[in-house]
Amino acid sequence: MSTTSDLAVQVVEATPTQPWHKPRSEQRRDALVYLALAVVAYAIVMISGVAGPDGFALVFFVEVLLLTILRSRNIGKAKSTNAIVSTVIGAGAVVAFVPWMSIFVSLVTKGFHGLYVGYLFGDMRVTTPDDELNMGGVGHAIIGSMLMVLIATAITLPLGILSGVYLTEVRGRLTKVVRFVIQSMSGVPSIVAGLFIYTTVVTLTESFSGFAGALALSVLMLPTVARTSEEVLKLVPEDLRAASYALGARQWRSSLMVVLPTVRSGLTTAAILGVARVVGETAPLLLTALSNNAFKFNPFNGPIASMPMYVFGLLQIGTEYSIARAWSGSLVLMLIVLALFVAARRLGGKDKR
């Protein structure tokens, strides 16, 4: 019995380790190494002919790559390839993400100083593009865009929902064809949509108008609305349809009164995404709605301004103030797109149980 003491095991409380995480000290050392590399890269940019942020990025990348190769000398071929390729992929990803991040940043930095309180409510009737930035505004363009987008939504939302219902509920003989056509239609160049409406509506009514612009936007908006509607309707559980049939509902009643109401906010999302897709389209409006300088609330009567055409027109003028105005208009337009996206995301989560 006395052997128990001999057998006494020293109980060690295991401290949890995470071997896949780098320890603090190593993280700190890495940060220092990268900082040193950045300084060296900066020095090289200063001394040699390489210039600009792109030159700095290139030198820094080459340094990191060399360091990776150097460090992975003795860890075997597979692991060293892994380390090197990972570095390259990371750099590629950075290069892929930089342009649009740069666009967001430029919009804010270049568009910001043209904004003032009256900017959203003024128009360009008495302001020339070269006037000081505290005059005039983008109000007429916002109204014009809003009118066109509203008409386009009124046209495409029912059609888009019908397409979605066809693809998920009715599932007729043409299901595959319709799905294929909708997907292909989303690739129709925006200028072709503009040309189409020009040869039909504008030629027929003999007038450029907001309505023609709205029709051109509808052509571009329909595929987005239809596809999103289909995606949303697909999420409706089959049980719901079965239950409604079991209660004796016919297909039309179960579709209209059970399936569609459950995805109401999803269908709103479809409309919002469609609007976000077309609100910045310039090319079709160039051929259908043109632009004007004053507030206008009648979309059926002559040219009407819109956000993208406002920016485009100012860019054509190309003076310092007109370009500053173009950036401000773009910033407002981007904020509208962003707001639409956030709204779509908020609503999108609602239907999911």
């Binding site: 792109d54 597979a78 892994n82 990972s86 390259v88 990371g90 750099a91 590629g92 990803a93 892929a96 342009p99 649009w100 740069s102 430029s106 919009l107 029912p158 929902i161 019908l162 397409s163 219902v165 066809y166 009715v170 043409l174 319709v178 799905r179 294929f180 056509v181 997907q183 292909s184 239609m185 690739g187 129709v188 160049p189 925006s190 200028i191 072709v192 949509a193 040309l195 189409f196 040869t199 052509v219 595929p223 239809a226 016919r250 297909q251 039309w252 897709r277 910045g280 389209e281 090319a283 160039l286 993208p308 920016v311 485009f312 860019l315 370009i323 173009a326 950036w327 773009s330 797109v337």
Partner: protein, 312 residues
């Protein structure tokens, strides 16, 4: 299963079918109208509409005959789009792989939403950004390329003026299509069966080993489809190219020289002051562009839908 539909059902199904067929009808109408309006040009110009080199409205009195050919613009469309694809595809693959397999879980969802937003940036902004922000950098790259690779005809530039070239327009188009290719690729990569990747790791493979052995082959056709969707976009882009390129009617395969254009920007440029006959030529050009993009998009759709089906 045999289903019996009531009268109400039949009416309902008919209405829904009619609604769903509008997209089909609209697509057909676009083609028909452009063709009907442009057919006169196709008849007058013959194959020269595609292969010729001139775009002249003529002098009206018939002394200088009108001559319309989209050859140089068609070439410009293809050249700028190919440049865009050349840069966008590798970057998008790197971006998609990074988001799916390398990015820390914390920032992954942020990146995905930002990518969605990036895909919705109006192309006008890429033009604006290209002209105002990027072009000085692009010119520097062009000058370097010409300096070191100028002996190669593609990069030859005798004039040493590097602004507003197909090269820069192509780079901006690349930036424009990266979001769409990245998001399609990422989605395909995310459908890679987890157990295959895990078994690669279990066998002692590295992360790159697993990607090369499983993820890339699995996602290949999806990436091809995404790239073609991007190509379709680049082929039909109007305002970005319009703002970035001087429209010059010349076959320009020296991509660093400051001349070029594409079909869409031709339409945008000439539309304002076109004579009625020239307008028909523009509609004919629009028809060619429509056919070109539709072909590319249909092929892309077929590829994407087939892979999605095979993988689900």
């Amino acid at each position: 299963m045999h289903v019996v539909y009531s009268t109400g059902d039949r009416i309902f199904r008919r209405i829904v079918t009619a609604g769903a067929l509008t997209s089909l009808i609209v697509l057909a109408l676009i083609g028909l109208f452009l063709l009907a309006r442009g057919v006169e040009i196709f008849r007058d110009m013959g194959p020269k509409f595609i292969t010729g080199t001139n775009w002249t409205a003529g002098s009206g009195d018939g002394i200088i005959p009108a001559e319309f050919s989209i050859g140089p613009m068609l070439a410009g469309t293809i050249v700028t789009s190919l440049i865009a694809l050349f840069f966008a595809v590798p970057l998008s693959i790197a971006g998609a792989l990074y988001m799916e397999f390398f990015a820390p879980a914390k920032i992954k969802s942020t990146l995905v939403s930002m990518l969605d937003l990036a895909a919705a940036i109006p192309s006008l902004f890429f033009g604006l950004w290209g002209v105002q922000v990027f072009s000085s950098m692009g010119e520097r790259w062009a000058a370097l390329t010409s300096h070191y690779l100028g002996w190669f005809p593609l990069f030859n530039n005798e004039l040493e003026i590097f602004g507003r070239s197909p090269f820069i327009a192509g780079l901006v188009l690349a930036a424009m299509i990266v979001p769409i290719i990245t998001s399609v690729s990422r989605e395909v990569y995310s459908r890679t069966p987890r157990e295959l990747v895990d078994s690669c790791h279990a066998l002692g493979g590295t992360r790159w080993g697993a990607i090369r052995a499983v993820v890339l082959p699995f996602g290949r056709s999806g990436v091809v489809g995404g790239a073609m969707l991007g190509l379709g976009r680049a082929l039909g882009e109007t305002v970005a190219v319009y703002l970035l390129l001087n429209l010059v009617f010349k076959y320009n395969f020296n991509i660093l020289e400051s001349e070029g254009g594409n079909i869409a920007s031709l339409i945008a440029t000439k539309f304002g002051e076109a004579t009625p006959y020239e307008l028909k030529a523009l509609l004919a050009a629009g028809f060619v562009l429509f056919l070109l993009t539709l072909t590319v998009n249909m092929a892309a759709t077929a590829v994407v839908q087939r892979t999605a089906k095979a993988q689900s």
